[in-house]
């Protein structure tokens, strides 16, 4: 068969040159039912670099076989951002490689990443890894290509240039990208379902723990009111103490950081860690400090920075609803350590949308005993030493405040989880909608390409 050489100059503005070449090539191959030995590509080197970065030069050889045309006719003309296609067509061919259906094969930005994949496969021969990398560099969207590489391995290995199986393989490759998008859609919708379920669970748990928290508040507030007299006194005594002991040698504080056991609950735990770090920074190491961790999520971030200060940690505290005997065990641990000051750091539940980290100092036993005279207006049992009552009261107060703090934090955790999961499930819906659009676009592009190939084939035969 005599071939006539037709030269097409294709001007492209974007980096879609390789896929474009391939489409034209595919068109010719389909039309003539032969491996297209007569089409070659000359590209601007600058462009090749721009499209792909490390696009290997020999890949051109894989991409298109050496042309069987006279060197003088193979005039490759370099354009600034374009490439030159030389297509050799048989006699009688219109000489224009234009899509019969009129779809803009030559226009910029018409390439789908699916086509880029096929080019990449051709270019990389049988090496799927290289093809994946090249495909990624061609499309400029690295992430989308990673899952395609294994799929290509099976398709790419046995591909011959023109055998009927090669055509079938090509058909498979054509829909690979659609398959990837559909799989991702499935994943996204599954995760969305999980998030929604977690939100519902958090909402149910929130109701339960909120009623407990509301029941515990009067105790904490009542005790707080009773000891509110102490606040002024405490200020006075600390001032006095600082006079006696300006370096604060005798002072020893324990920070109880209340966090949750489980994650996926927004910033609830992060703010507590931040607050404790801030407290440590404010103190500048003047006071010997111990940190007690209640809940598992504060553990890792605290260990990294203040590992040496951590004295004890509790986990699985919030597995079952918090009970007072449980809190008493934690409080007894606090009592067994000799700290002059205890500061509770937890999230106070304001509303389902709002939680705030608070520091609640608990009046120390020594301060309480020193300033017992404030409570002279109260009557004590005659057979009991008032100091003992204060010791009891101090223990009870510590447990009550701790109990309230744990419940406030548990309520905040559930509320934060609820809103976090709500956001997550909404995001997954958005993402799913976007992916559905992409999938439809890919599907339609595939159909269009097939149609144009068929029409072109029919046109050339007739």
């Amino acid at each position: 068969m005599q071939y006539r050489c037709t030269v097409q100059y294709i001007w492209l503005q974007f980096c879609e040159v390789w896929p474009m070449c391939h489409t034209v090539w595919g068109l010719v191959t389909t039309a003539f039912q032969t491996p297209c030995k007569s089409l070659t590509v000359a590209s601007s080197i600058a462009l090749a670099r721009r499209c792909s970065g490390p696009l290997p030069a020999p890949s051109l050889g894989h991409l298109l076989p050496r042309p069987a045309i006279a060197p003088e006719r193979r005039s490759a003309r370099r354009l600034n951002h374009g490439c030159l296609l030389i297509a050799v067509t048989p006699p009688g061919h219109p000489g224009e490689l234009r899509s019969p259906s009129g779809c803009s094969l030559y226009g910029p930005g018409t390439m789908t990443s699916r086509v880029a994949l096929k080019v990449a496969m051709r270019a990389a021969g049988n090496s799927p890894g290289a093809a994946g990398a090249l495909g990624a560099s061609l499309s400029g969207r690295g992430s989308l290509w990673a899952p395609v590489a294994p799929a290509m391995a099976s398709v790419g290995t046995s591909r011959g240039q023109s055998s009927p199986t090669a055509v079938a393989m090509e058909e498979q490759v054509r829909w690979v990208n659609l398959k990837v998008v559909r799989e991702r859609m499935k994943t996204v919708s599954n995760i969305g379902k999980i998030c929604k379920a977690m939100k519902l669970v958090a909402a149910a748990k929130l109701r339960g723990v909120q009623s407990l928290q509301q029941a515990s508040r009067p105790f904490a507030v009542g005790m707080g009111d009773f000891f509110s007299k102490m606040d002024e006194l405490e200020a006075a005594t600390t001032a006095e103490a600082s006079k006696k002991d300006p370096t604060g040698d005798k002072k020893k504080q324990l920070i109880i950081a209340v966090t949750s056991d489980r994650g996926l609950c927004g910033g609830v735990n992060a703010v507590i860690v931040k607050e404790v770090k801030l407290m440590m920074a404010e103190d500048e190491g003047r006071t010997p400090t111990g940190i007690m961790l209640v809940g598992d999520k504060g553990r890792e971030p605290m260990r990294r920075v203040h590992g040496d200060e951590i004295v004890v940690s509790f986990k699985d505290v919030f597995k079952a609803p918090v009970t007072f005997p449980q809190v008493c065990m934690i409080a007894e641990d606090v009592l067994s350590r000799s700290y002059t000051d205890v500061i509770l750091v937890y999230n106070r539940f304001k509303s389902a949308m709002e939680q705030e980290p608070v520091r609640k100092p608990i009046v120390g036993l020594s301060t309480l005993l020193e300033s017992a005279s404030v409570f002279d207006e109260y009557e004590f049992d005659s057979d009991m030493d008032s100091a003992q009552v204060f010791v009891d009261l101090f223990e009870f107060q510590l447990a009550t405040q701790l109990y309230n703090a744990l419940l406030e934090n548990a309520t905040s955790e559930q509320a934060a989880r609820m809103s976090a999961m709500d956001n997550a499930s909404r995001n997954s819906t958005d993402m799913h909608a976007k992916l559905a659009l992409t999938a439809n676009r890919v599907r339609q592009a595939g159909i269009t390409t097939e149609l144009s190939e068929i029409v072109a084939g029919a046109a050339s035969v007739s």
Partner: protein, 71 residues
Amino acid sequence: MVQYWRAAGVSYLRYSNLCADALRSALKPAAAKKGAAKTPFSMTKSTWEAGKPVARVQLEPAGMETAAVGK
């Protein structure tokens, strides 16, 4: 006068919990069902030294077995 339980080295919290347990166990079945049933819990306490947890203890409610039998 020092309370006997304190003299025995029991804290107020422990004392009050023991009293509550005693009261719960003394309740008649109907009232016991109504009166706050003790939810079982199991938490882990780790003691830290020099930035590393060195000892781990499993904490469970005291006398939980008897409470479970009582139910």
